[in-house]
Amino acid sequence: MPEPALRLTGLEKHYGATTAVAGIDLTVGHGEFVTLLGPSGCGKTTTLALIAGFVPPSAGEIYLKGRSVADLPAFRRDIGVVFQDYALFPHMTAGENVAFGLRMRKVAPVDIARRVGEALDLVQLKGLGERRPLQLSGGQRQRVALARALVINPTVLLLDEPLSNLDLKLREEMRVEIVSIQRRLGITTVFVTHDQGEALVMSDRVAVMNAGRIEQIGRPADIYERPATRFVAEFIGRMNLFAGTVTDARSVRTASGVEISLPVPREIPVGANVSIAVRPERARVTSERTARGLALAGTVRQVFYLGATREYRVDLEGGERGLVETPNDGSDARFASGDTVWLTASFDDCRLIEGGIPRGRP
């Protein structure tokens, strides 16, 4: 089996008493697009800086194509980086920016000119090589930064929130474009973002990070459909979390004391506090209790019309709150504020996550 393009083992970074990265293991295959997703301060950017060699790790190893690089300075790692602020050299033209890495590698001038041209073509900046960064729009600067990182044929391409400075429309355009370039070149890519939409759309796999660790790693659908932890469940998309206690291998008692039969995963012991996780778009508001699956009694508090969807906010017996999102099928809202209803969901749409719900949650 060939060595993976990038492998991190037990990677840690501490700054004095603060821990930025608390032990990360990650393997990225050749040509794979992996996203580090997490809130600010979760250690994703530090992880990127460690891979790039901008900061030395406190512990752990970094392998590029099987070779340990933890002791190698940044300039000898062959890693392309696109920064959040692009970090273009303001005193050089777009073409000179792109040529920089090749010049540092002592590539022959003829080849430099050809490869810079190709790189600028690739990012659709043909003919703009003479412009200086200040004469380019935000989106164009972004493309120059991408071309500059790609032209050196790096082992791994690192993208640090490269879309966060662009406006919404351009951002969505660049998502698609970055992925299409990445696929075309087959370049191994690690992308850092706090935007879950970006992560889900662009990635082969998503690593959700929290407090310096990877909470869960998997394909976008895995992460969304089968969150492994409370953090992942709440960070990706919206999620109803209802408190419960495991009573036996096939049933859970909810906060309001109702026993419901749900298959309990083997690793969760009887008596454990759990959260029953249901996506708002998988839950329903009904007037009758369903025979099977989750059913929680409550009262509709508010109904919001959102165009494509309707949102029901339900006050449940026992004090919890539920959120249900229904597609707009053209009919009127079936329930109004004050109606007594059931919040229901099928077995398949419920997931049990170990750990109770902290007090003081809305």
């Binding site: 300075p73 980086v81 602020d85 970090a87």
Partner: protein, 280 residues
């Protein structure tokens, strides 16, 4: 319109401009006036410094170009240039260390570097003279002593301007260069230096001007035959303000002005001199 309203309108619109104009005129009269008077005096046909000048003659200018004046002028130019080079060469790494890194004793080093800025140069001069004598370096007085003294008092300017341009360096460009395969030296050469160039040049120019115009420090460290023009002028003043001195003063004034004009043209130094960044 009532008189009162007319007055109020005048006070609101025209008056501030009138005050500003008066102020500007005031500033110019007192900054340019002495120069113009000095220049005029140098063309006197008489032995005394009359203003307005009596008659017209170029003989004082002829005297001003005699070796007794040209030598100290060249000495000052040489001293100023070398001071500028040494001060900026030292200021560059110093500014880097002070404003890029956090280390023990950083505050102390900043105080030590910028200290001479706050100290009367006269005191620095006396101190340096004492030091040289204590160390038995009397032989080093003159050019070497002056160079040391001038570097001490000029370096703060260079450190300031260089650090200002270091602070305007875009945050990640050095990391970007490293990721593209540039060693630290290559990063310095191709990325950092070109971006802080204006600050370095400005520091050099300020250092030169400060050195060229200094008299307080120089009077202690100069010695016969190795005397800057300012000290020479001061010495000559004991014999009264002759028209020759007026001519010499004008020359002494023009030299740094011309230098600044040239450098400004070449490097766009205006940003630093006028305190604004005109380039976007």
């Amino acid at each position: 319109m009532s008189v009162r309203r007319a007055f109020n309108r005048w006070r609101a619109t025209a008056a501030p401009w009138a005050v500003l104009r008066a102020f500007v005129v005031f500033v110019y009269v007192f900054s340019l006036g002495p120069i113009l008077i000095t220049a005029a005096v140098s063309f006197n046909a008489t032995n005394r410094s009359f203003f307005p000048p009596r008659g017209f003659s170029l003989r004082w200018w002829e005297r001003a170009f005699a070796p007794e004046w040209v030598d100290p002028l060249l000495f000052s130019l040489k001293l100023g240039s070398l001071t500028a080079v040494v001060a900026t060469a030292l200021a560059l790494p110093l500014a880097f260390a002070l404003y890029r890194y956090r280390f023990r004793g950083r505050q102390a080093l900043i105080a030590l570097t910028l200290g001479p800025l706050m100290m009367p140069t006269l005191v620095t001069g006396v101190g340096l003279l004492q030091l040289f004598q204590q160390l038995g370096w009397r032989e080093q007085l003159g050019f070497t002593g002056l160079l040391v003294g001038h570097v001490v008092i000029c370096m703060p300017f260079a450190v300031r301007t260089v650090s200002v341009s270091l602070q305007t360096l875009p945050p990640n460009v050095e990391l970007a260069a490293a990721s593209l395969g540039a060693t630290r030296i290559a990063t310095l050469r191709w990325v950092v230096l070109p971006l802080v160039k204006t600050g370095v040049v400005a520091g050099g120019v300020f250092a030169f001007i400060h050195s060229f115009t200094d008299v307080n420090l120089s009077i202690f460290l100069a010695r016969p035959g190795e005397t800057p023009i300012t000290v020479r002028i001061l010495g000559f003043l004991e014999f009264g303000f002759a028209p020759t001195l007026a001519a010499v003063s004008v020359i002494t004034l023009i030299v740094p002005l011309a230098l600044v004009a040239v450098v400004e043209r070449v490097s766009g130094l205006g940003d630093f001199i006028y305190g604004e960044r005109r380039r976007a």
